[in-house]
Symmetry: C2
Subunit: 347 residues, 2 copies
DNA sequence: TTGTAGGCGTTATCAG
DNA sequence: CTGATAACGCCTACAA
């Protein structure tokens, strides 16, 4: 085979094959190449075949950048998560990616690392890349800023966050209901001294769940000890530390507890570990309820009673909502009911 | 304020603000805007300020597509993983993203969903987007195809896979050593009848670990029962099923076992659950060794003895290797030694 | 210090 | 059915 455009003898970056290279080899214009690649317009079977061969021979890859530039759309959807190492989010991403893939779209993932500055930068960056829409999971930015950032995007969906008057469609989990389910279950089983292992205050769902917890307790006429209300980061270690403190506190004559409602399954798992180390049995001495139903929840011992959230489905729906938005529809916000899954940690 | 380009009265997609809009408002040429945005060339303080105000007023976001098109680089690195819901990979992604972020780069994630067709499509797609480099984790495609696909990229790094003569730099984990460590530990503690819960055959590391397992057993002069060698998908359920079969087999008079070496921690956790349900105690009756040291490994009961792999560091190094490649260096392949972390499941 | 011309790779539009 | 031509938004190179 002889030299072709794109061939390089030095160690330099390969000149990428273009439209024009293919056109030259096939003996047609670039427009014809474009038509063949995109299946638009009418091209005779003969030339179509010539072009096809040229494409194959040169291993031509259309430049999506140029294509997006002229078409004004990227067929890419951005998705921002607070922390991809939190097992809650990969499931959402997976759902979104499957739906996007089916429609010929690509997903660009940005990890905000639980950091507002990076969340902001991610949103700006995605706007710079002209993604056709963004999905933001558990956004940590304040309403005002989020609204500004989102309005730079042609379509946006928020998961687990609502911004009144903002441009985004919200897909919510009913956290108040979730908290009621958890508290109700524990009280029903005779637990009375409940502790709340709440999430970080910057998380909207953490605030709702706390509110729901307090409301449910109030409605049941059960008092809550301030010493048994805490915030923690949504990670295993933080749950461990908080529960360790409670156990030590109880040993030192502080308020005892026989049930924990945790912000998420990671925190719940940490709490279980702490309790075990403190010599408390789960669920005999303390029952624990998590949230999210991550895969691990059913795999560990004791398996975790938790609130199931349809993570994969949320991801899919978020992408479908972006598509609806593109078609000019304005889907309404939706709220999903979590489902209490009773397992060993709080039977 | 009067009508500006970009203003829309209908409900149509907003015309995005361009270079030229800013130039018009600031009363300069587009070049001056470009210079201010990029901090290149000299611009008088006065005009710089005017341009800045115009940018702010219009909320101008440079179009990265156009920029990439002229500059010939995207400042984006692609990363392909077999399954983002496997907790091994988010840590790598996180490491890669942190390193990329620090250098002003963006990461584009593609999930191959353990599917060769999608891995192929992802690689092609990233090439179409002209990413400056790709990182492929645990590639499942055959050597030949992988080589072709990777050579379409200006720089590429493979994690956990080596392709002789291919264009990519490989970052390897010493799976043979890992298998030896696991087997050695179990034998040392008096376990003799070891089972191998191997990974899928399309995974290179699964093949190495299997090989290492067999070699270590041979070297120790311990025989291996074929009935105690199996493959499974790298997920919890598959580990559960395989171990259940072994337990049933043993009860029915088949070969007994007192140790399991698992392909990864997920499979190991599944095995532990199966053993427990079959009435076998871990570690008293059967010791279990996992691999990866995912976060859960230390959080569950019994905590998992496993081989630690520096996931985050691998991700970081992969990105740094891409950068080195860009600078024209040719870094050599590197191999990392896994570290045996002894915990409760195989003390 | 600032501006003009040209091109990056592709597609829309309009002629032939 | 096919091809010229003009964008898309930005930047490199060269002038002024």
């Amino acid at each position: 085979m002889t030299d072709r455009p794109g061939r390089r003898g030095d160690g330099s970056r390969p000149r990428t094959v273009t439209n024009a290279d293919v056109a030259a080899v096939a003996g047609v214009s670039t427009m014809t190449v474009s038509r063949v690649v995109n299946g638009t317009g009418r091209v005779s079977e003969a030339t179509r075949e010539r072009v096809r061969r040229a494409i194959e021979e040169l291993d031509y890859q259309p430049n999506q950048l140029a294509r997006s530039l002229t078409q004004g759309r990227t067929r890419t959807i951005g998705i921002v998560v607070p922390d991809i190492t939190n097992p809650f989010f990969p499931e959402i991403v997976r759902g979104a990616e499957d739906a996007a893939w089916a429609a010929g779209y690509t997903v660009a993932l940005a990890n905000a690392v639980e950091d507002q500055a990076r969340e902001r930068a991610a949103l700006r960056n995605l706007a710079g890349h002209r993604v056709d829409g963004v999905i933001v999971c558990s956004a940590r930015l304040p309403d005002r800023e989020l609204t500004d950032l989102l309005s730079a995007h042609p379509a946006s969906v928020l998961i687990n966050r609502q911004v009144p008057g903002g441009p985004a469609v919200s897909l919510m989990v009913d956290d108040l209901l979730g908290a009621h389910l958890a508290v109700g279950h524990l009280l029903e089983r005779g637990r009375k001294r409940l502790a709340l292992l709440g999430g970080p205050d910057r998380s909207a769902s953490a605030r709702y769940r706390r509110e729901g917890f307090l409301a449910a307790m109030r409605e049941a006429g059960v008092s809550v000890s301030d010493a048994l209300l805490t915030h923690c980061e949504p990670v295993e270690d933080a749950g461990y530390e908080a529960a360790s403190r409670w156990a030590a506190q109880a040993r030192a004559g502080g308020p005892g507890f026989d049930g924990i409602v945790a912000y998420n399954d990671l925190a719940a798992l940490g709490a279980v570990r702490a309790l075990r180390e403190a010599g408390l049995r789960v669920p005999e001495d303390v029952a624990v309820v998590g949230c999210d139903d991550i895969r691990m929840a059913s795999a560990v011992a004791p398996s975790l009673t938790t609130l199931r959230i349809e993570k994969y489905g949320l991801g899919r729906l978020a992408v479908e909502t972006i598509f609806a938005l593109q078609r000019g529809r304005k889907p309404t916000d939706k709220t999903f009911a979590p489902e209490l899954i009773v397992r060993e940690s709080a039977p």
